[in-house]
């Protein structure tokens, strides 16, 4: 039964139809979480005793930074699955993740910079956390450029998967950079093993925004993957039929 399920899921046509039904629901749930997160983050949460209202940038910055790493791992794992088992859909998911991951990395860097100016007095420092996150952005851009540089999509997907896998080494470096090196960037407050040193009134909007970003990734990656499937399957009967009816 499981075999059958995976076989069906891996069929591009089945994926296209199922994901088309899923996207509106994911998008609606994402919107609801965003609205709740914005309300609790911008209206309900009190100003920080040290940083005033500037800390509210955190509700964008931290989820974006989490997503930048999460999506990279998803991309590398999907790439590996495509590489090992030659599952087309895994290749599609890997490459569809790249531009979204790059967007979140960009957001994390820029909002961090905007937050750094009033708090640290500088837009940018070459500290370990910031530098390793910048390298992550370059890795994403490298993946996108490499994929577009190779005409044959299956060869391109293999090349991209290898690059993505090599780049995974950067993920623990980003995560532990604030502990291994003396950084201007603060240490973790939420993912500590002992009690998180963040008040509930600030933790709730942070988690709401984090889940909203997760759902956002889920439905946007499906949207992208559907386009990629159409492109790759454009000469098959079902896609040609679909184009007629639209």
């Amino acid at each position: 039964m499981f075999n059958n399920f995976f076989h069906k899921m891996a069929s591009p046509r089945y994926f296209y139809n199922i994901s088309g039904q899923l996207i509106p629901w994911l998008a609606a749930a994402c919107m609801a979480l965003f609205l709740a997160g914005l309300y609790y983050g911008l209206v309900k949460a009190p100003p920080d005793y040290q940083q005033g209202d500037s800390y509210r940038i955190m509700f964008i910055h931290v989820p974006a930074a989490w997503m930048s790493m999460f999506i990279y791992v998803v991309m590398a794992v999907a790439g590996a699955i495509g590489l090992i088992w030659h599952i087309k859909l895994a290749e599609v998911m890997a490459i569809s993740s790249a531009s979204i991951g790059a967007s979140f990395t960009f957001l994390a860097l820029v909002t961090g910079s905007i937050w750094g100016k009033p708090m640290w007095g500088t837009w940018w420092v070459w500290d370990a956390r910031l530098t390793s996150e910048l390298i992550l952005l370059f890795l994403y851009l490298g993946v996108i450029a490499l994929y577009n540089a190779i005409d044959d999509k299956r060869t391109a997907a293999r090349a991209v998967a290898i690059l993505a896998l090599v780049g995974v080494v950067n993920i623990p470096i980003i995560h532990y950079s604030v502990e291994w090196w003396n950084t201007l960037h603060q240490g973790p407050t939420v993912t500590k093993l002992d009690k998180p040193s963040i008040h509930l009134s600030m933790l709730i909007p942070l988690l709401l925004m984090a889940f909203a970003f997760k759902l956002y990734y889920a439905f946007v990656v499906l949207m992208r993957a559907r386009c990629e499937v159409l492109e790759r399957e454009r000469h098959t009967g079902w896609v040609r039929e679909l184009a007629e009816t639209k």
Binding site: I57, I114, C227
Partner: protein, 57 residues
């Protein structure tokens, strides 16, 4: 809290609203991109179909 205070953000209005505005733009662009791409692709494929039909009597 008044609306004015809300937009003032304790003096950090520029930093806070630039961050949120930028996030909104990036998130929107990522949704609009695939929507437009899908439309273009389907039109493209439909055009190829028509051309193929014309060439086969």
């Amino acid at each position: 809290m008044s609306l004015n205070e809300f937009f003032h953000m304790g003096g950090y209005a520029f930093y806070v609203w630039t961050s949120y505005g930028l996030a909104l733009i990036v998130l929107l662009l990522n949704v609009i991109g695939p929507l437009r791409q899908r439309k273009k692709l389907l039109n493209d494929i439909a055009r190829t179909n028509r051309r193929a039909r014309r060439n086969t009597p």
